[in-house]
Protein backbone atom coordinates (compact mmCIF):
# COMPACT_ATOMS: atom_id res chain seq x y z
CA UNK A 1 0.00 0.00 0.00
CA UNK A 2 1.42 3.38 -0.91
CA UNK A 3 1.95 6.22 1.54
CA UNK A 4 -0.86 8.16 -0.05
CA UNK A 5 -3.44 5.45 0.49
CA UNK A 6 -2.10 4.93 4.03
CA UNK A 7 -2.87 8.56 4.83
CA UNK A 8 -6.26 8.17 3.22
CA UNK A 9 -7.06 5.10 5.32
CA UNK A 10 -5.98 6.99 8.43
CA UNK A 11 -8.30 9.87 7.61
CA UNK A 12 -11.24 7.55 6.92
CA UNK A 13 -10.58 5.81 10.23
CA UNK A 14 -10.49 9.17 12.01
CA UNK A 15 -13.70 10.32 10.35
CA UNK A 16 -15.51 7.17 11.44
CA UNK A 17 -14.45 7.59 15.06
CA UNK A 18 -16.55 9.41 17.64
CA UNK A 19 -13.61 11.66 18.42
CA UNK A 20 -11.10 12.75 15.79
CA UNK A 21 -7.54 13.74 16.73
CA UNK A 22 -6.03 16.69 14.95
CA UNK A 23 -3.04 15.55 12.92
CA UNK A 24 -2.40 18.54 10.66
CA UNK A 25 -0.38 20.49 13.23
CA UNK A 26 1.64 17.64 14.63
CA UNK A 27 2.29 14.90 12.09
CA UNK A 28 4.51 14.88 9.00
CA UNK A 29 4.94 18.51 7.84
CA UNK A 30 2.94 19.64 10.87
CA UNK A 31 5.89 18.88 13.13
CA UNK A 32 7.73 21.76 11.47
CA UNK A 33 5.07 24.15 12.78
CA UNK A 34 5.68 22.97 16.34
CA UNK A 35 9.43 23.38 15.78
CA UNK A 36 8.80 26.86 14.35
CA UNK A 37 6.64 27.86 17.32
CA UNK A 38 9.23 26.53 19.75
CA UNK A 39 12.13 28.29 18.05
CA UNK A 40 10.30 31.60 17.73
CA UNK A 41 9.55 31.58 21.46
CA UNK A 42 13.14 30.77 22.37
CA UNK A 43 14.40 33.46 19.99
CA UNK A 44 12.15 36.15 21.45
CA UNK A 45 12.99 35.16 25.02
CA UNK A 46 16.71 35.05 24.31
CA UNK A 47 16.60 38.47 22.66
CA UNK A 48 14.74 39.93 25.63
CA UNK A 49 17.13 38.63 28.28
CA UNK A 50 20.19 39.40 26.15
CA UNK A 51 19.01 43.01 26.09
CA UNK A 52 18.43 42.94 29.85
CA UNK A 53 21.88 41.49 30.58
CA UNK A 54 23.68 43.46 27.78
CA UNK A 55 24.88 40.27 26.09
CA UNK A 56 25.57 40.78 22.35
CA UNK A 57 26.40 37.10 21.71
CA UNK A 58 22.94 36.22 22.99
CA UNK A 59 21.40 38.70 20.57
CA UNK A 60 23.21 37.06 17.65
CA UNK A 61 22.09 33.59 18.76
CA UNK A 62 18.50 34.82 19.18
CA UNK A 63 18.60 36.19 15.65
CA UNK A 64 19.90 32.90 14.24
CA UNK A 65 17.20 30.95 16.10
CA UNK A 66 14.52 33.28 14.73
CA UNK A 67 15.84 32.72 11.21
CA UNK A 68 15.62 28.96 11.76
CA UNK A 69 12.09 29.44 13.06
CA UNK A 70 11.16 31.31 9.89
CA UNK A 71 12.56 28.45 7.80
CA UNK A 72 10.57 25.90 9.83
CA UNK A 73 7.38 27.92 9.39
CA UNK A 74 7.94 28.10 5.64
CA UNK A 75 8.64 24.38 5.49
CA UNK A 76 5.31 23.71 7.13
CA UNK A 77 3.21 25.72 4.68
CA UNK A 78 1.54 23.90 1.84
CA UNK A 79 2.29 26.83 -0.46
CA UNK A 80 5.39 28.51 1.01
CA UNK A 81 5.98 30.71 -2.03
CA UNK A 82 2.84 32.66 -1.11
CA UNK A 83 4.02 33.55 2.41
CA UNK A 84 4.18 37.25 1.58
CA UNK A 85 0.38 37.30 1.23
CA UNK A 86 0.20 37.08 5.02
CA UNK A 87 0.74 40.84 5.23
CA UNK A 88 -2.89 41.48 4.35
CA UNK A 89 -4.84 39.90 7.18
CA UNK A 90 -5.47 41.87 10.33
CA UNK A 91 -7.54 39.57 12.54
CA UNK A 92 -5.34 36.49 12.20
CA UNK A 93 -2.78 35.67 14.89
CA UNK A 94 -0.76 33.70 12.36
CA UNK A 95 -0.50 36.85 10.26
CA UNK A 96 0.51 38.82 13.37
CA UNK A 97 3.18 36.21 14.05
CA UNK A 98 4.42 36.61 10.49
CA UNK A 99 4.54 40.39 10.92
CA UNK A 100 6.38 39.89 14.22
CA UNK A 101 8.94 37.58 12.66
CA UNK A 102 9.47 39.97 9.76
CA UNK A 103 9.91 42.98 12.06
CA UNK A 104 12.26 40.99 14.26
CA UNK A 105 14.43 39.73 11.42
CA UNK A 106 14.41 43.09 9.62
CA UNK A 107 15.01 45.22 12.71
CA UNK A 108 17.43 42.75 14.25
CA UNK A 109 19.83 42.89 11.34
CA UNK A 110 19.85 46.71 11.45
CA UNK A 111 20.64 46.63 15.15
CA UNK A 112 23.21 43.81 15.06
CA UNK A 113 25.34 44.84 12.09
CA UNK A 114 27.06 47.82 13.79
CA UNK A 115 27.60 45.73 16.94
CA UNK A 116 29.46 42.94 15.17
CA UNK A 117 30.80 44.69 12.06
CA UNK A 118 33.32 47.43 12.73
CA UNK A 119 33.16 48.58 9.08
CA UNK A 120 29.42 49.02 9.24
CA UNK A 121 28.03 52.00 7.26
CA UNK A 122 26.05 53.06 10.35
CA UNK A 123 27.04 53.10 14.01
CA UNK A 124 25.41 51.57 17.07
CA UNK A 125 23.84 54.76 18.35
CA UNK A 126 22.71 55.94 14.92
CA UNK A 127 19.12 56.46 13.84
CA UNK A 128 19.17 53.31 11.70
CA UNK A 129 20.41 51.17 14.60
CA UNK A 130 17.84 52.73 16.93
CA UNK A 131 15.07 52.08 14.40
CA UNK A 132 16.29 48.49 14.15
CA UNK A 133 16.25 48.22 17.93
CA UNK A 134 12.62 49.30 18.18
CA UNK A 135 11.48 47.23 15.20
CA UNK A 136 13.11 44.13 16.68
CA UNK A 137 11.59 44.93 20.06
CA UNK A 138 8.10 45.18 18.53
CA UNK A 139 8.70 41.94 16.65
CA UNK A 140 9.94 40.27 19.82
CA UNK A 141 6.77 41.23 21.72
CA UNK A 142 4.59 39.82 18.94
CA UNK A 143 6.65 36.62 18.87
CA UNK A 144 6.29 36.21 22.62
CA UNK A 145 2.52 36.44 22.46
CA UNK A 146 1.26 35.18 19.09
CA UNK A 147 1.61 31.40 19.52
CA UNK A 148 -0.67 31.11 22.49
CA UNK A 149 -3.32 33.14 20.73
CA UNK A 150 -3.00 31.06 17.55
CA UNK A 151 -4.00 28.03 19.61
CA UNK A 152 -6.58 29.73 21.78
CA UNK A 153 -8.41 31.07 18.70
CA UNK A 154 -8.75 27.54 17.29
CA UNK A 155 -12.42 26.92 18.05
CA UNK A 156 -12.35 23.51 16.40
CA UNK A 157 -10.09 22.09 19.12
CA UNK A 158 -11.70 22.75 22.51
CA UNK A 159 -8.57 21.71 24.44
CA UNK A 160 -6.74 24.73 23.04
CA UNK A 161 -9.44 27.36 23.45
CA UNK A 162 -8.35 28.34 26.92
CA UNK A 163 -7.16 31.78 28.02
CA UNK A 164 -4.52 30.01 30.11
CA UNK A 165 -2.70 28.81 27.00
CA UNK A 166 -1.35 32.22 25.88
CA UNK A 167 -0.04 32.81 29.40
CA UNK A 168 1.54 29.35 29.48
CA UNK A 169 3.23 29.83 26.11
CA UNK A 170 4.47 33.27 27.16
CA UNK A 171 5.98 31.77 30.32
CA UNK A 172 7.65 29.05 28.27
CA UNK A 173 9.03 31.56 25.78
CA UNK A 174 10.58 33.58 28.62
CA UNK A 175 11.89 30.41 30.17
CA UNK A 176 13.33 29.28 26.84
CA UNK A 177 15.16 32.61 26.59
CA UNK A 178 16.74 32.27 30.01
CA UNK A 179 17.61 28.65 29.27
CA UNK A 180 19.27 29.53 25.98
CA UNK A 181 21.36 32.19 27.73
CA UNK A 182 22.41 29.66 30.38
CA UNK A 183 23.51 27.24 27.67
CA UNK A 184 25.39 29.91 25.69
CA UNK A 185 27.15 31.21 28.81
CA UNK A 186 28.14 27.82 30.15
CA UNK A 187 29.43 26.53 26.82
CA UNK A 188 31.55 29.66 26.39
CA UNK A 189 32.62 29.79 30.03
CA UNK A 190 31.12 33.25 30.38
CA UNK A 191 30.24 34.39 33.87
CA UNK A 192 27.02 36.29 33.20
CA UNK A 193 25.52 36.58 36.66
CA UNK A 194 24.59 32.92 36.50
CA UNK A 195 23.12 32.95 40.01
CA UNK A 196 20.57 35.60 38.95
CA UNK A 197 19.80 33.68 35.77
CA UNK A 198 19.52 30.43 37.72
CA UNK A 199 17.05 31.97 40.15
CA UNK A 200 15.07 33.44 37.27
CA UNK A 201 15.03 30.06 35.58
CA UNK A 202 13.84 28.37 38.77
CA UNK A 203 11.11 30.94 39.30
CA UNK A 204 9.79 30.71 35.72
CA UNK A 205 10.07 26.90 35.84
CA UNK A 206 7.94 26.67 38.97
CA UNK A 207 5.46 29.18 37.50
CA UNK A 208 5.20 27.08 34.33
CA UNK A 209 4.66 23.91 36.37
CA UNK A 210 1.86 25.56 38.34
CA UNK A 211 0.32 26.87 35.12
CA UNK A 212 0.37 23.43 33.47
CA UNK A 213 -1.31 21.87 36.51
CA UNK A 214 -3.88 24.67 36.57
CA UNK A 215 -4.51 24.26 32.83
CA UNK A 216 -5.01 20.51 33.12
CA UNK A 217 -7.21 20.98 36.17
CA UNK A 218 -9.48 23.41 34.35
CA UNK A 219 -9.60 21.25 31.22
CA UNK A 220 -10.38 18.03 33.08
CA UNK A 221 -13.48 19.72 34.52
CA UNK A 222 -14.71 20.91 31.10
CA UNK A 223 -16.64 19.20 28.29
CA UNK A 224 -16.15 15.51 27.37
CA UNK A 225 -13.91 16.44 24.42
CA UNK A 226 -11.57 18.45 26.66
CA UNK A 227 -11.55 15.62 29.15
CA UNK A 228 -10.65 13.26 26.32
CA UNK A 229 -7.73 15.52 25.42
CA UNK A 230 -6.54 15.51 29.04
CA UNK A 231 -6.66 11.71 28.94
CA UNK A 232 -4.67 11.73 25.71
CA UNK A 233 -2.08 13.82 27.52
CA UNK A 234 -1.99 11.72 30.66
CA UNK A 235 -2.66 8.23 29.35
CA UNK A 236 -2.90 8.35 25.56
CA UNK A 237 -0.97 9.36 22.44
CA UNK A 238 0.80 12.30 24.07
CA UNK A 239 1.58 10.67 27.42
CA UNK A 240 5.22 9.70 26.78
CA UNK A 241 6.19 13.13 25.48
CA UNK A 242 4.30 14.80 28.31
CA UNK A 243 5.73 12.75 31.17
CA UNK A 244 9.27 12.40 29.86
CA UNK A 245 9.75 15.57 27.81
CA UNK A 246 7.58 18.12 29.61
CA UNK A 247 7.51 16.97 33.23
CA UNK A 248 10.68 14.96 33.86
CA UNK A 249 13.21 16.66 31.59
CA UNK A 250 11.52 20.05 31.22
CA UNK A 251 10.45 20.68 34.79
CA UNK A 252 11.87 17.99 37.10
CA UNK A 253 15.53 18.32 36.11
CA UNK A 254 15.76 22.16 36.08
CA UNK A 255 13.74 22.61 39.28
CA UNK A 256 15.65 19.83 41.03
CA UNK A 257 19.07 21.20 40.08
CA UNK A 258 17.88 24.74 40.72
CA UNK A 259 16.77 23.89 44.25
CA UNK A 260 20.03 22.12 45.07
CA UNK A 261 21.85 25.15 43.72
CA UNK A 262 20.15 27.49 46.17
CA UNK A 263 22.62 26.47 48.90
CA UNK A 264 25.81 26.49 46.85
CA UNK A 265 26.79 27.94 43.46
CA UNK A 266 26.23 25.60 40.50
CA UNK A 267 29.02 24.42 38.25
CA UNK A 268 29.02 25.49 34.59
CA UNK A 269 28.08 21.93 33.61
CA UNK A 270 25.05 21.97 35.92
CA UNK A 271 24.01 25.37 34.57
CA UNK A 272 24.28 24.02 31.03
CA UNK A 273 22.20 20.99 31.99
CA UNK A 274 19.50 23.20 33.49
CA UNK A 275 19.42 25.26 30.30
CA UNK A 276 19.32 22.27 27.95
CA UNK A 277 16.65 20.49 29.97
CA UNK A 278 14.52 23.64 30.03
CA UNK A 279 14.83 24.10 26.28
CA UNK A 280 13.87 20.46 25.67
CA UNK A 281 10.91 20.89 28.00
CA UNK A 282 9.87 24.01 26.14
CA UNK A 283 9.66 22.00 22.92
CA UNK A 284 7.81 19.09 24.46
CA UNK A 285 5.15 21.18 26.16
CA UNK A 286 4.16 22.54 22.75
CA UNK A 287 4.43 19.11 21.16
CA UNK A 288 2.33 17.41 23.85
CA UNK A 289 -0.43 20.02 23.88
CA UNK A 290 -0.64 19.97 20.08
CA UNK A 291 -0.72 16.17 20.02
CA UNK A 292 -3.51 15.99 22.59
CA UNK A 293 -5.75 18.20 20.43
CA UNK A 294 -9.08 16.59 19.54
CA UNK A 295 -11.60 18.14 17.15
CA UNK A 296 -14.99 19.14 18.48
CA UNK A 297 -17.51 16.35 17.94
CA UNK A 298 -20.60 17.09 15.87
CA UNK A 299 -22.61 14.18 17.17
CA UNK A 300 -22.09 15.46 20.70
CA UNK A 301 -24.02 18.64 19.87
CA UNK A 302 -26.69 18.70 22.59
CA UNK A 303 -29.54 19.71 20.27
CA UNK A 304 -29.03 16.93 17.77
CA UNK A 305 -28.59 14.20 20.35
CA UNK A 306 -31.48 15.27 22.52
CA UNK A 307 -33.99 15.87 19.76
CA UNK A 308 -33.08 12.82 17.68
CA UNK A 309 -32.97 10.47 20.62
CA UNK A 310 -36.18 11.86 22.10
CA UNK A 311 -38.07 10.83 19.00
CA UNK A 312 -36.35 7.46 18.97
CA UNK A 313 -37.67 6.91 22.47
CA UNK A 314 -34.29 6.16 23.94
CA UNK A 315 -32.26 8.12 26.48
CA UNK A 316 -29.42 10.14 24.93
CA UNK A 317 -25.95 8.82 25.63
CA UNK A 318 -23.06 11.01 26.57
CA UNK A 319 -19.81 10.96 24.61
CA UNK A 320 -17.62 8.28 26.08
CA UNK A 321 -14.00 9.40 26.18
Amino acid sequence: MSVTSGRYEQLIQDLRAEVRPQREWIERQGLLLIVGHFLSGVAAGTWLFSLVFHFPAGLAVAYAIAALSAAAHLGFLGRPARFWKMWHARSSWIARGFVGLTLFLGGGVLYLIPIFLSASPWQSGSLIAQAGYFLALAGMILLLFYKGFVYSSSKGVPFWTSPILPALYLAYALRGGVAALLVICSFNGINLDSSALGLLELWIGISAAVMILFYLGVMSGSSPIEQYSVRELLRGRAAVSFYVGTLLVGLGVPIGIGLTGLGAPLSLGAVALVGLASVIGDFFVKYSIAKAGIYRSLTSSPHWRDKSAAVAGVPPLSVKP
Binding site: S91, K155, H303
Partner: protein, 201 residues
Protein backbone atom coordinates in the same frame (compact mmCIF):
# COMPACT_ATOMS: atom_id res chain seq x y z
CA UNK B 1 -30.04 37.61 0.78
CA UNK B 2 -28.40 34.82 2.75
CA UNK B 3 -28.22 31.34 1.32
CA UNK B 4 -29.06 28.57 3.74
CA UNK B 5 -30.13 24.98 3.95
CA UNK B 6 -32.53 22.91 6.00
CA UNK B 7 -31.97 19.16 6.35
CA UNK B 8 -34.98 17.11 7.34
CA UNK B 9 -33.75 14.36 9.66
CA UNK B 10 -37.11 12.64 9.42
CA UNK B 11 -36.64 12.15 5.69
CA UNK B 12 -32.91 11.40 5.64
CA UNK B 13 -32.33 7.68 5.11
CA UNK B 14 -28.54 7.81 5.33
CA UNK B 15 -28.04 6.69 1.72
CA UNK B 16 -24.89 8.79 1.15
CA UNK B 17 -26.47 10.22 -2.02
CA UNK B 18 -25.44 13.73 -0.96
CA UNK B 19 -21.86 12.64 -0.34
CA UNK B 20 -21.57 10.86 -3.68
CA UNK B 21 -23.28 13.56 -5.73
CA UNK B 22 -20.98 16.14 -4.15
CA UNK B 23 -17.93 14.06 -5.03
CA UNK B 24 -19.22 13.70 -8.59
CA UNK B 25 -19.99 17.41 -8.92
CA UNK B 26 -16.70 18.72 -7.58
CA UNK B 27 -14.36 15.83 -8.33
CA UNK B 28 -12.85 16.18 -4.89
CA UNK B 29 -9.64 14.19 -4.39
CA UNK B 30 -9.35 11.25 -1.97
CA UNK B 31 -9.57 12.46 1.61
CA UNK B 32 -11.63 15.55 0.78
CA UNK B 33 -15.35 15.45 1.58
CA UNK B 34 -17.47 18.54 1.15
CA UNK B 35 -20.56 16.60 2.30
CA UNK B 36 -20.69 13.62 4.61
CA UNK B 37 -23.22 11.53 6.50
CA UNK B 38 -22.43 10.67 10.11
CA UNK B 39 -24.12 7.61 11.53
CA UNK B 40 -24.56 6.68 15.14
CA UNK B 41 -26.42 4.03 17.09
CA UNK B 42 -28.34 5.10 20.17
CA UNK B 43 -29.92 3.12 22.95
CA UNK B 44 -29.64 -0.46 24.13
CA UNK B 45 -31.24 -3.59 22.79
CA UNK B 46 -34.14 -3.89 22.13
CA UNK B 47 -34.72 -0.11 22.01
CA UNK B 48 -32.11 0.96 19.52
CA UNK B 49 -32.07 3.24 16.54
CA UNK B 50 -29.55 4.39 14.00
CA UNK B 51 -29.32 8.16 13.73
CA UNK B 52 -28.06 10.02 10.68
CA UNK B 53 -26.45 13.42 10.66
CA UNK B 54 -25.67 14.77 7.17
CA UNK B 55 -23.02 17.48 7.45
CA UNK B 56 -21.37 20.03 5.17
CA UNK B 57 -19.86 23.48 5.63
CA UNK B 58 -22.30 25.41 7.80
CA UNK B 59 -21.53 28.77 6.16
CA UNK B 60 -21.55 30.56 9.49
CA UNK B 61 -22.69 34.13 9.85
CA UNK B 62 -19.64 34.80 12.01
CA UNK B 63 -17.18 32.26 10.61
CA UNK B 64 -14.15 31.60 12.86
CA UNK B 65 -12.29 30.20 9.84
CA UNK B 66 -12.37 33.60 8.12
CA UNK B 67 -11.05 35.41 11.21
CA UNK B 68 -7.98 33.21 11.55
CA UNK B 69 -6.99 33.07 7.88
CA UNK B 70 -3.66 34.90 7.51
CA UNK B 71 -4.07 35.68 3.82
CA UNK B 72 -7.81 36.37 3.60
CA UNK B 73 -8.09 33.32 1.37
CA UNK B 74 -11.10 32.30 3.43
CA UNK B 75 -13.79 34.86 2.92
CA UNK B 76 -17.54 35.40 2.94
CA UNK B 77 -19.51 36.39 -0.14
CA UNK B 78 -22.22 39.05 0.30
CA UNK B 79 -24.82 36.28 0.02
CA UNK B 80 -23.39 34.59 3.13
CA UNK B 81 -21.52 31.76 1.44
CA UNK B 82 -18.11 31.11 3.01
CA UNK B 83 -15.57 30.26 0.35
CA UNK B 84 -11.82 29.78 -0.20
CA UNK B 85 -9.74 31.54 -2.82
CA UNK B 86 -7.28 28.74 -3.63
CA UNK B 87 -4.91 31.26 -5.24
CA UNK B 88 -4.43 33.00 -1.89
CA UNK B 89 -4.29 29.96 0.40
CA UNK B 90 -0.84 29.25 1.86
CA UNK B 91 -1.86 25.93 3.35
CA UNK B 92 -1.33 26.87 7.01
CA UNK B 93 -4.48 24.96 8.04
CA UNK B 94 -5.41 27.46 10.74
CA UNK B 95 -8.96 27.45 9.34
CA UNK B 96 -9.18 23.71 9.90
CA UNK B 97 -8.32 24.22 13.55
CA UNK B 98 -10.76 27.11 13.84
CA UNK B 99 -13.76 25.43 12.21
CA UNK B 100 -15.88 24.11 15.08
CA UNK B 101 -17.66 21.78 12.66
CA UNK B 102 -14.49 20.22 11.15
CA UNK B 103 -15.73 20.75 7.61
CA UNK B 104 -12.43 21.69 6.02
CA UNK B 105 -9.94 19.35 4.41
CA UNK B 106 -6.35 19.75 3.48
CA UNK B 107 -5.44 18.58 -0.02
CA UNK B 108 -1.81 17.83 0.72
CA UNK B 109 -0.71 16.34 -2.58
CA UNK B 110 -2.13 15.19 -5.86
CA UNK B 111 -3.53 11.72 -5.32
CA UNK B 112 -5.91 9.40 -7.07
CA UNK B 113 -8.37 6.72 -6.05
CA UNK B 114 -6.29 3.97 -7.66
CA UNK B 115 -2.71 4.54 -6.44
CA UNK B 116 -0.09 3.36 -8.89
CA UNK B 117 -2.42 3.53 -11.88
CA UNK B 118 -2.47 7.29 -12.32
CA UNK B 119 -5.65 9.29 -12.77
CA UNK B 120 -8.77 7.75 -14.28
CA UNK B 121 -10.31 9.66 -17.21
CA UNK B 122 -12.86 11.07 -14.75
CA UNK B 123 -10.16 12.23 -12.36
CA UNK B 124 -8.25 13.75 -15.24
CA UNK B 125 -11.32 15.74 -16.18
CA UNK B 126 -12.62 16.71 -12.75
CA UNK B 127 -10.01 16.30 -10.00
CA UNK B 128 -6.84 17.66 -11.52
CA UNK B 129 -8.11 21.23 -11.48
CA UNK B 130 -7.81 21.26 -7.69
CA UNK B 131 -4.57 22.73 -6.40
CA UNK B 132 -2.51 20.70 -3.93
CA UNK B 133 -1.16 22.25 -0.73
CA UNK B 134 -4.34 24.17 0.02
CA UNK B 135 -7.46 23.71 2.13
CA UNK B 136 -10.77 22.83 0.46
CA UNK B 137 -14.39 23.02 1.52
CA UNK B 138 -18.02 23.16 0.37
CA UNK B 139 -19.14 26.42 -1.23
CA UNK B 140 -22.84 25.55 -1.57
CA UNK B 141 -22.10 24.65 -5.24
CA UNK B 142 -21.60 28.30 -6.07
CA UNK B 143 -21.37 27.77 -9.82
CA UNK B 144 -24.59 25.76 -9.90
CA UNK B 145 -26.47 28.26 -7.73
CA UNK B 146 -25.36 31.18 -9.90
CA UNK B 147 -26.65 29.24 -12.89
CA UNK B 148 -30.04 29.00 -11.20
CA UNK B 149 -29.67 25.38 -10.07
CA UNK B 150 -29.81 23.77 -6.65
CA UNK B 151 -26.60 22.57 -4.98
CA UNK B 152 -25.74 19.01 -6.07
CA UNK B 153 -26.51 17.48 -2.67
CA UNK B 154 -29.97 19.08 -2.70
CA UNK B 155 -30.81 18.22 -6.29
CA UNK B 156 -29.71 14.62 -5.92
CA UNK B 157 -31.17 13.74 -2.52
CA UNK B 158 -33.52 10.83 -3.32
CA UNK B 159 -35.50 11.33 -0.11
CA UNK B 160 -35.96 15.08 -0.70
CA UNK B 161 -34.51 15.72 2.74
CA UNK B 162 -32.68 18.92 1.79
CA UNK B 163 -34.08 22.36 1.14
CA UNK B 164 -32.04 25.28 -0.11
CA UNK B 165 -33.04 28.93 -0.24
CA UNK B 166 -32.84 32.44 1.13
CA UNK B 167 -32.84 32.56 4.91
CA UNK B 168 -33.49 36.31 4.85
CA UNK B 169 -36.76 35.80 2.97
CA UNK B 170 -39.41 34.76 5.51
CA UNK B 171 -41.62 33.40 2.71
CA UNK B 172 -38.98 31.05 1.28
CA UNK B 173 -39.58 27.32 1.75
CA UNK B 174 -36.43 26.92 3.78
CA UNK B 175 -37.37 29.76 6.16
CA UNK B 176 -40.91 28.46 6.62
CA UNK B 177 -39.71 24.93 7.32
CA UNK B 178 -37.22 26.13 9.89
CA UNK B 179 -39.92 28.20 11.59
CA UNK B 180 -42.71 25.62 11.43
CA UNK B 181 -40.64 22.56 12.30
CA UNK B 182 -38.42 24.15 14.94
CA UNK B 183 -35.20 23.95 12.96
CA UNK B 184 -32.03 24.06 14.99
CA UNK B 185 -28.31 24.37 14.36
CA UNK B 186 -25.40 22.40 15.74
CA UNK B 187 -23.41 23.83 18.63
CA UNK B 188 -25.40 27.09 18.85
CA UNK B 189 -23.55 27.85 22.07
CA UNK B 190 -20.52 28.84 19.98
CA UNK B 191 -22.37 31.82 18.50
CA UNK B 192 -21.19 31.22 14.95
CA UNK B 193 -24.68 31.48 13.40
CA UNK B 194 -24.65 28.51 10.99
CA UNK B 195 -26.76 28.71 7.82
CA UNK B 196 -27.49 24.97 7.85
CA UNK B 197 -30.46 23.98 9.98
CA UNK B 198 -31.74 20.58 10.98
CA UNK B 199 -35.44 19.76 11.10
CA UNK B 200 -36.03 17.33 13.97
CA UNK B 201 -37.38 13.87 13.14
Amino acid sequence: MRWGMAIDLKRCIGCYGCQLSCKAEHGTPPGVFFARVLKQEEGRYPTVRQLFLPVLCFHCDDPPCVDVCPTEASFKWPDGVVDIDAEKCVGCRACMMACPYTQRYYHDEEQFYFPGNGPTPYERARSQRHEAGVVMKCNFCRDRVRAGKQPACVANCPAIARYFGDLDDPTSEVSRLIKDRGGYTLHPELGTGPAVYYLPP
